[in-house]
């Protein structure tokens, strides 16, 4: 209201100069007013001038306008309503005229907010994409093979590329305005031939697209794809972050790019803004960009565990095949080893060397050894044996070698190289064996203790023993002393053996016991004592069971014991005769 007041008075005073200039009548009126109003009139004129002068008016309002708006704003929203379309219009104009400055200003604020909402959207997208991918997994490896064949790459290379979700090969920071490369980092083997050219061309392409299609400046290219390589572009106010990627980056990665881009613009704001081609002022940029050189392996996809029937069957087939093979191999090995072992343990055969793979062996063979069965077996089983002759001295072979000399009723055994003979053989035969044993190598000794002699020889031996028998008496004595009794017992034993050897049908015995005496005493006395000596021995023999009818006693003829010293001639001896039975019968 009180703003309007001066406006009214302005319209009044507006007319005043016109009226004054119109003639003297108005001058007079003016004078009248001065007279009537005095000083008030002067002030009124001054006030009127202030209101008319534009500058003064502006100053007047400037002093109070902010407060005035504030006061009015507390009363109603008229100001907001009238200003809103105005501001909106002016903002549009402003943004249209200079979009970059607005977006530059908003960039740090908007970045994070937009990122959040985009992340969520992309995540949803990825979930569905992952599912599609999983469905195609069964065909995956087949596809890789086809890919490998198609591209001429090795299968493993294709698998490597495919099992990576993505790998960022190179990162470029490109100055937006000039298209010049600010900095570049690469994996050990970068993909671009020339990062400078790449940067310039990327920028040119961007320009080309922006020019060719009517797109806004903020709708610039976000990615380019060529084969397995994708160039992702993350534009900022003064620089474009470009990465060359193989595969599909995750949504995380996009936000990493945005963050990196923001970092670049925050840290190198001045350098980017005033960039004149000098890249040396971007200290530490390498580390900033290197963060983007990422690669991500594919997560192993959880597959439903199907029972791999064919796999198991195949495995069984392979295993049983393998088992059968190794089993037969084992058997054949066993047979071979067994063969070699048997051959080696066979007397007279000796394995020198055996080749288990070629199934060949070198063996020594004694001529008397039994090698034929081995030769047959070897030819049957395909073994090869190289024989060499040798003389074996083991007991078995020795006995086999000596066997050739055996006669009927005899046998032999070799034990530790000693030849044991059994059976009955003549003395001559025994002598032969002695020679053989000495001649055959390996025979260490001979034992004939168990060899019985022939009947004739046996009888002769008995007769010899009987002939050698005598009992010596003390002077004038005819009783058999203890020592004599022992000899007499031995004689009985020998006589019994002799009786046993007789053929009772045709043969019989006749014993003569002869008594002797020394030269002392008279002839009569000598005869008596000699007879007594013969009689006592006869009695002893009868006592021992020799039939009395077979025994005759006599005084021995001195002639028979001429060689014996006189003091030993006090003796009695036994003479035995074997007579034919008829003759005996005839005698009886």
């Amino acid at each position: 209201m009180h703003i309007e007041q001066p406006a009214d008075s302005q319209s009044v005073s507006d007319g005043t100069p016109d009226a004054a200039s119109s003639g003297s009548a108005s001058q007079q009126l003016d004078l009248l007013r001065q007279l009537l109003c005095g000083e008030d009139y002067q002030q009124m004129v001054a006030l009127s001038q202030r209101l008319t002068d534009e500058q003064t008016r502006q100053e007047f309002f400037a002093a109070i306008i902010a407060e005035a708006i504030a006061i009015r704003n507390t009363q109603d929203d008229a100001i907001a309503q009238s200003l809103a379309p105005l501001i909106s219009d002016s903002m549009h104009t402003s943004i249209r005229n200079d979009p970059e400055s607005v977006s530059d200003a908003l960039y740090p604020v908007m970045g994070p907010a937009i990122r959040k909402s985009i992340t969520e959207t992309i995540q949803a997208l990825f979930d569905s994409f992952n599912k599609a991918l999983e469905d195609s997994l069964s065909m995956r490896s087949l596809g890789w093979r086809v890919d490998a064949w198609r591209t001429g790459k090795s299968y493993s290379e294709v698998v490597f590329l495919k099992t990576l979700n993505y790998r960022v090969e190179e990162v470029f920071l490109i100055h937006k305005e000039t298209g010049l490369l600010v900095h570049q980092v690469a994996q050990s083997l970068g993909v671009s031939k020339d990062a400078d050219m790449m940067s310039a061309m990327l920028t040119a392409i961007q320009d080309f697209i922006t020019d060719s299609f009517e797109v806004d400046d903020d709708e610039r290219l976000a990615s380019m794809k060529m084969g397995s390589l994708t160039i992702l572009l993350e534009p900022g106010p003064n620089a474009v972050l470009a990465v060359a990627v193989r595969g599909n980056v995750s949504s995380d990665y996009r936000s990493l790019l945005v963050k990196t881009q923001e970092t670049c613009h925050r840290r190198y704001a001045r350098q980017l803004h005033e960039f004149d081609g000098d890249t040396s002022s971007f200290r530490g940029i390498d580390d900033v960009l290197r963060v983007c050189l990422k690669e991500e392996l594919q997560k192993p996809v959880e597959k439903k565990r199907k029972i791999p029937v064919y796999g198991i069957l195949g495995l069984i087939a392979v295993l049983s095949g393998l088992g059968w093979f190794s089993y037969t191999q084992y058997l054949s090995d066993q047979a071979w080893r067994d063969f070699v072992e048997r051959l080696d343990s066979e007397p007279g055969l000796l394995v020198r060397s055996a080749n288990n793979y070629e199934r060949t062996l070198q063996a020594l063979r004694d001529p008397v050894a039994d090698s034929q069965s081995f030769i047959d077996e070897a030819s049957e089983k395909g073994y090869a044996i190289d024989w060499q002759a040798y003389v074996a001295v083991d007991d078995e072979i020795l006995s086999r070698r000596l066997m050739a000399h055996l006669t009927a009723d005899t046998d032999l055994e070799v034990n530790d190289g000693v030849l044991f003979l059994t059976g009955t053989m003549s003395l001559e035969q025994r002598a032969d064996w002695q020679r053989i044993a000495a001649a055959v190598p390996g025979v260490k000794g001979i034992d004939l203790g168990k060899v019985s002699i022939t009947e004739g020889e046996q009888r002769e031996r008995l007769l010899g023993q009987i002939a050698a028998f005598h009992i010596v008496y003390d002077v004038s004595e005819h009783v058999v002393a203890a020592s004599g009794e022992q000899a007499a017992m031995q004689l009985v034993d020998t006589l019994m053996q002799l009786v046993d050897s007789l053929n009772p049908e045709t043969e019989t015995l006749r014993l003569t016991v002869s008594g002797f005496s020394d030269s002392t005493g008279t002839e009569q006395l000598r005869r008596t004592i000699s007879q007594q000596r013969a009689d006592t021995l006869r009695d002893f023999l009868v006592q021992q069971g020799i039939p009395e009818r077979l025994i005759r006693t006599e005084v021995g003829d001195d002639e028979r014991i001429q060689d014996i010293p006189m003091e030993q001639r006090r003796r009695s001896i036994v003479t035995v005769e074997i007579k034919p039975v008829d003759k005996l019968r005839a005698l009886q």
Binding site: K176, E177, L180, M201, I205, D207, G277
Partner: protein
């Protein structure tokens, strides 16, 4: 390492592409670059002990320079404005182009190439236009893409100007 973007300007067929070819060893195939409409070449040179890398932009094809797309010029640190004095009309084109360019980048160093110096007998220099170009602060150097005369010199001159 200092990198600079340089743009070739001038009427069609004045020898812009020929000058670059003479100056650098081409890397990218012509065909690929024409698709995008621009040809970029790289040249590294040593000047006053500093290594400078020039990224030289050239418009592919025979564009009408009066309708030049300004995005192509964006960020350029220097221009080589090529004139073919055997065709006096190209002087006027050069003037127009320069006017347009200077609208946005007043101080960008520009060197004018009076090309086809090997055909000097056929030259018909538009002296008025030439004076106008010099007035705008452009140096002029006579070049021949054919003989190689002045080619190194003009790029070095421009580089020196850009480095100041």
């Amino acid at each position: 390492m200092i990198r600079k973007k340089v743009c070739m300007l001038g009427a069609f067929s004045v020898g812009k592409t020929s000058l670059i070819s003479r100056y650098v060893k081409s890397l990218f195939s012509e065909k690929y670059l024409t698709t995008v409409g621009v040809k970029i070449e790289k040249k590294t040179l040593e000047l006053n002990g500093e290594t400078i890398q020039l990224m030289i932009w050239d418009l592919a094809g025979e564009d009408d320079f009066t309708q030049i797309n300004m995005s192509y010029l964006r960020g350029a640190a220097g221009y080589i404005l090529v004139v073919d004095p055997t065709r006096p009309a190209t002087f006027q084109v050069a003037r127009d182009v320069l006017d347009k360019v200077k609208e946005s980048n007043m101080a960008t160093p520009t060197v004018v190439a009076l090309n086809k110096a090997d055909l000097k007998d056929d030259w018909q220099v538009d002296e008025a236009c030439l004076a106008a170009l010099r007035e705008q602060g452009c140096e002029t150097i006579e070049t021949s893409a054919k003989s190689g005369e002045g080619v190194e010199a003009i790029f070095e001159r421009l580089t020196l100007n850009m480095m100041q």
